[in-house]
């Protein structure tokens, strides 16, 4: 199972979503699909319709910045972060 860490700002949009969650996935896209299945709408908050990870969201896999097609190992750590943005 892949260990996913969600940012607090995303958790607040989906009441009940924990800071850390485990999903079965072979790619980042599949991991986000797993999140969306548990919290409908979460994919739209992380990804745009290109489809791509949103410009001001960063996803890291095992310490490396990742894209939707980045492969995951069974014990990968996937971290979703809100990037610097706003004013």
């Amino acid at each position: 199972m892949v260990a996913v860490t969600l940012p607090g700002a995303l958790q607040r949009l989906f009441p009940g979503a924990p800071r850390r969650v485990e999903v079965a996935a072979a790619t980042v896209a599949e991991a986000i699909d797993g999140l969306d299945a548990r919290w409908p709408g979460m994919r739209d908050r992380i990804c745009d319709s290109t489809p791509a990870i949103r410009r001001h969201i960063n996803v890291f896999v095992d310490g490396e910045r990742a894209a939707l097609d980045t492969p995951l190992r069974p014990a990968s750590a996937l971290i979703v972060l809100t990037a610097i943005s706003g004013g």
Partner: protein, 360 residues
């Protein structure tokens, strides 16, 4: 049961609600809501009592928020609120309008969506996206935004939208097909021999007169206009106003001849209220004559602007009039604009003002 008067505010950092009773003398502020997202337009649907918020967040993208308990709790959705894969994604939702059982949303980049389940899911009305003039549309300062959504209350197939800076478009078939309706409105930013194009005008705000669905008013980047034929032709109504530039327009709830505007000092002069003095300008005769309303408004060293969706009226008798400023203040009139009071200040930049009166 008590009558509750709500003034719904979209701001750069969240939605807020000002609440009062029909006397409209004492106000309470609630918020911020919607996780402090930029909220371009917050509306109430008087048929259901629901409040909807249109916005977009740099991190999380566009969504329509909904509250069914007058703001106490909110949910959000953007299911279906997307263009096809590979196209430029939607950045933000800019405008909302309730219809008969429907909810319409205008987005950036400009397009129109419809929900038939109170904002849970959306479908694209692709006629605007596929319009043959679209490749020539140019974005305004805020982007290519569909900011005004007007529907005929007696005929749900008839819609008008305003897009900066593509102009006014009309649909007679519920949004499937569209035609530009800009005849008579200027585009001063074009070469001299191209000042009255078929489309491409920088319309800032479009509103419908009450009880007269063929009468529309618009505040344009280049003038103020009235149409009495469903936007087929437009007549200038800017004579008597201090400038031809401004953003908002607000129709009276019952009198089709009364309109409120808030002209600014010009597009290249700071876009403040003229002469550093705040005034709402009111016509009672469809724009033939104008009166400046200043009682209670600051008259010295005023350098705020008021954005396109940031002025509204309420349906009470006498009608209330409201506007929110770029400096985070909200002014209210309980007597159709004759006198004003500041009812909130120190808010984020106010992006939209709407009203809803409910029995609750």
């Amino acid at each position: 049961m008590a009558t509750r008067v709500l003034v719904l505010l979209g701001t750069k950092k969240g939605a807020f609600i000002l609440e009062t009773d029909p006397d409209r003398r004492s106000w309470e502020l609630r918020g911020p809501y919607c996780e402090t997202w930029p909220m371009n337009h917050v509306i109430g649907d008087p048929a259901t009592g629901a409040i909807y918020g249109a916005g977009g967040n740099e991190w999380f993208g566009p969504a329509v928020w909904r509250s069914t308990d007058l703001g106490a709790t909110w949910s959000h959705s953007s299911a279906g609120l997307a263009y096809a894969a590979g196209e430029e994604p939607i950045k933000s939702v800019w405008s909302l309008a309730p219809g008969k059982g429907a909810l319409y949303a205008g987005v950036q980049p400009a397009g129109l969506f419809r929900s038939d389940d109170a904002g849970e899911t959306w479908r694209h009305l692709s006629g605007l996206r596929d319009h043959p003039t679209r490749p020539e549309w140019q974005a305004g300062g805020a982007g290519l935004i569909l900011h005004s959504l007007v529907r005929d209350p007696g005929d749900d197939r008839k819609l008008w939208v305003a897009i900066s800076a593509a102009g006014v478009f009309h649909s007679a078939d519920g949004g499937e097909t569209w035609e530009p309706r800009n005849r008579g409105t200027r585009a001063d930013f074009n070469p001299e021999d191209q000042r009255y194009p078929e489309f491409g005008q920088c319309v800032h705000c479009l509103v419908m007169a009450p009880g007269m669905p063929d009468r529309l008013y618009q505040q344009n980047h280049c003038g103020m206009y009235r149409s009495d034929d469903g936007a087929r032709t437009w007549q200038s109504i800017e004579a008597g106003l201090p400038s031809s530039f401004g953003f908002p327009a607000a129709a009276h709830p019952r009198d089709p001849g009364t309109l409120y505007l808030l002209p600014l000092n010009g597009d290249s002069a700071g876009r403040y209220v003229p002469d550093g003095k705040a005034a709402v300008w009111r016509t009672r005769d469809g724009g033939a004559t104008w009166q400046d309303q200043r009682d209670g408004l600051p008259q010295k060293n005023v350098f705020f602007g008021v954005l396109r969706q940031a002025m509204a009226t309420d349906p009470l008798d006498k009608a209330g009039v409201y506007f929110g400023t770029s400096t985070g203040a909200v002014y209210a009139s309980r007597d159709e604009g004759d006198s004003w009071q500041c009812v909130a200040e120190h808010l984020p930049t106010v992006l939209s003002v709407e009203t809803m009166v409910v029995e609750a």
